[in-house]
Amino acid sequence: MHSGSAKTSDATAKLKHQPNEDLPPSQNMWRKAARRIRRDRSTLAAMTVVLVFALASLLAQFLSETVLQVDPEEIDLNNKYLPLFAEGHPLGADELGRDHLSRLLYGGRVSLGIAFFTAIFSISIGITVGVFAGFYSGIIDDFIMWIVTTLNSIPGLFLLITFNTVLSPTPATLVFILSFIGWTGVARLVRGETLSLKQSEYNIAARAIGASSLRIMFVHIVPNVFSLLIIVLAQAMSGLILIEAALSYIGFGIQPPIPSWGNMLSNSVDYMRRAQHLVFLPGLLITLTVFCFYLIGDGLRDAFDPKIAD
C-alpha cells in the first residue's frame, strides 16, 4: 500500500472520480449499459441465438455422439443426398452420406472459433500498437501508421489468398493470418482515443506525480477504451465469420475434411441439382450468426452511447 504506484493510483482515482463522488463513473457507465440492454429485446434475442449456436458448437462432440449417435466423418454410401427429416439424420446427409447436422455442429465450432480467437488476438494487437502509436507521436507513430495504411491498401482477400498459397491453412494458421491483417482498424481507433486522452487532466496529473509511461498507457488510458472495444468485438465477429466463410468458399480457407460452414457451402455447390438443402443450410447459419452479431453490435453501441438519454 505504501509503494509509489499505489499512491499514484489513489491520487489519480480521486482526480478521475471528482465529478461524481458517490458512484465511480466507469461502473456507472457499465451498469447503465447493462440496464439498457436488458430492455432491448432485439439485442437480447440476438444474444440468445448466438449463445445457443456457441453452446451447440462447443458441445458438438457430445451432441453428435450421445444425442444423435452419429460420427460426422462416417461415410455411408447408402445414405447419399438424404433429404431433410430423414430417419436418424434430421438434416439429411451429404454427397458421401455423412450426417449433415453433426457436420454443421462441427463446422460451427471451426467457424465461430476462428472468428472468436482472431477477434481477441487482433484486438489485443490493435490495443498495444494503437496505444504506443498515440502515446509516442513522432517517428514511432509515423512508422506504425505507414504499416496500417499499407495493410489497408491491399484488398483483404487478395492478401489472404497470397498468404494461403504459401502456408497451407489450418484453423490455427488461419487465426494467425487473419489477426496479422485484422488489427489495423482497432489500432487506428485506439490511437485516436489515446491522442485525445493523453492530454486529459487526469493523465497530466498522473504524469506529474511520476507515473511511468507504461502505467499511464495501460492503467489509465486502455481501460477507457474498453467500452468501445466491446462494440468492436461484436462487429469484428460478424466481419470475421463472413471473411472465413468467403475464404473457405473459394477454397483458400479451412480444407476438407475439417468442416467449416464456408467449405461445406462450397462443397455443396457441385451437388445443387440433387440436394438443395446442402447449399441452403450452411449459408443460412452463416447469415443468421452474422445478422445476430450485427444486431448485438448495434445494441451495444446504443447502450454505451452517452448521448442517448434513458
Binding site: W146, I147, T149, T150, L151, S153, I154, P155, G156, L157, F158, L159, I161, T162, F163, N164, T165, V166, S238, L242, A245, A246, Y249, I250, G251, F252, L265, V269, M272, R273, Q276, V279, F280, G283, I286, T287, V290, F291, Y294, L295
Partner: protein, 354 residues
C-alpha cells in the same frame, strides 16, 4: 487544388513500396523459390538452375527484393555458377512492368494476362455501381422524407439484411432459383422446358469469336449485378438517409423553407446536394470493397475477371501472376481512395486547407 492532389499522390508512394515489401516478404517466406518452381513438372533441370541463378537466390533478401523491384539489367550477374558476375541481368523489375513470366501460360507477361481480364471486372463493377448508387439515392431520400413510415422501416430491414447476407450465398440462391427451382416449378404448367431461365454463370454465350457487345448478353449480368449492388444499396441508402436528416435540420435549409420554396426543391436542391458530400468519401472504401470482393463474386458466377485469374494462379502456384495481381489490385485500390479524396476536395473546399 493542384497542391492538394500532388500531396496526396506523394503520400501514396510509401504505401506502394510497403505493399511491394509485404508481397515480396510473403513469397520469400515460402522458402526456397526453386522448390516452388519445381511444382512445374514441365521444367527441365538446366532451366531450373538457370532460373535459380537469374532469381539471385544466393543474394541476401534485401538484394533479392531490390532486384525484383528495379531489375538487374544495369548490373552484372553470375549466370554460370562460378561465383563471379559475368553478364548483364535481363530482368527489368516490376517498376518497369516486368513481373517475370507466368509459369502456367508459359512466357506470358502477367501484366498482359491481367489486362485481358481487367475489362470483365470493370464492366461488372461499373454496372453494379451504377445500379447500386441510383437505387440507394432513391431509397435513401425516400426513407429520409418519409421518416418512420413504412418505406423507412423496410429500407432499414433491407439494409441490415444486406450487411449480413454473404454475397456468395445470395449468388448461389439466385443461381439455384432461376436455374433450377423456378424452371422445375413452371415446367408442369407448360411454361418453359425446364432449362435455366437465366445463365448459371459465365460472361457470354459459349460461342466462337469472343464476346458479343454488352447489350446482347445482358442476361449474364443480371444475377451478379443484383448481388453486388445489394450490398452497395444496403450500406449507402442508410448513410444517405442519416446525412439527409442531418442537413435538413440545418439553418440554411430552414431559411429555404422560410422563404417559401416548395418542398421538393428544398429536399432535392438544398438537402440532397450537401448530403452527397460524404458519398464521395464512401466511394473509396466502396471501390476497395468491390476490387476485393471480385474474387468471390467472380468465382460464384464464373466471371472471367482479375479475381478469377488470381484464384486460378494461386491454385496452380503461378507466383508471378499472383504477385502481379496483388500489386496491380492494390494500385487500383490506392487510386480509388485517391479519386474519392480528390472528389471530396472538389465538393468540400474545407478539406483542401487541412
Amino acid at each position: 487544388m493542384q497542391r492538394y492532389i500532388a500531396r496526396r499522390l506523394l503520400q501514396a508512394i510509401p504505401t506502394f513500396f510497403g505493399i511491394t515489401i509485404i508481397v515480396y516478404a510473403i513469397m520469400a517466406a515460402s522458402g526456397d523459390p526453386i522448390a516452388i518452381l519445381a511444382f512445374d513438372p514441365t521444367m527441365r533441370q538446366d532451366e531450373r538452375e538457370r532460373l535459380a541463378i537469374r532469381l539471385g537466390i544466393s543474394d541476401p533478401l534485401p538484394v533479392q527484393y531490390l532486384r525484383w523491384l528495379i531489375g538487374d539489367d544495369w548490373m552484372m550477374v553470375d549466370t554460370n555458377l562460378d561465383g563471379e558476375a559475368d553478364a548483364w541481368g535481363d530482368n527489368y523489375g516490376i517498376l518497369r512492368g516486368d513481373f517475370g513470366s507466368s509459369f502456367k501460360f508459359r512466357g506470358s507477361n502477367p501484366l498482359n494476362l491481367i489486362a485481358e481480364r481487367l475489362g470483365a471486372t470493370i464492366e461488372l463493377n461499373v454496372a453494379a455501381l451504377l445500379v447500386g448508387y441510383s437505387v440507394a439515392i432513391v431509397l435513401g431520400v425516400l426513407a429520409a422524407v418519409y421518416r418512420g413510415r413504412a418505406i423507412d422501416r423496410y429500407s432499414r430491414i433491407f439494409s441490415v439484411m444486406g450487411d449480413s447476407f454473404p454475397s456468395f450465398w445470395l449468388g448461389l440462391l439466385l443461381i439455384m432459383f432461376f436455374g433450377i427451382a423456378l424452371p422445375r416449378a413452371l415446367e408442369p404448367h407448360g411454361l418453359g422446358d425446364g432449362s435455366p431461365m437465366l445463365p448459371m454463370g459465365g460472361r457470354c454465350p459459349p460461342v466462337r469469336g469472343g464476346c458479343p457487345p454488352i447489350y446482347e448478353r445482358l442476361q449474364y449480368m443480371i444475377e451478379p449485378v443484383l448481388v453486388i449492388s445489394f450490398g452497395t444499396i444496403a450500406a449507402l441508402s442508410r448513410l444517405l438517409r442519416a446525412q439527409m436528416l442531418e442537413t435538413i435540420s440545418s439553418d440554411y435549409v430552414r431559411t429555404a423553407r422560410a422563404k417559401g420554396l416548395p418542398s421538393h426543391s428544398v429536399w432535392i436542391r438544398h438537402a440532397l446536394r450537401n448530403a452527397f458530400i460524404p458519398f464521395t468519401v464512401f466511394l473509396g472504401p466502396l471501390l476497395f470493397g468491390l476490387i476485393g470482393g471480385s474474387v468471390v463474386i467472380e468465382r460464384v458466377f464464373s466471371w472471367p475477371g482479375v479475381g478469377l485469374l488470381l484464384l486460378d494462379a494461386a491454385v496452380s502456384r503461378d507466383y508471378p501472376v499472383v504477385m502481379a495481381s496483388v500489386v496491380i489490385s492494390s494500385i487500383l485500390a490506392i487510386l480509388a481512395y485517391l479519386l474519392s479524396d480528390i472528389l471530396l476536395a472538389v465538393f468540400d473546399p474545407r478539406v483542401r486547407l487541412q
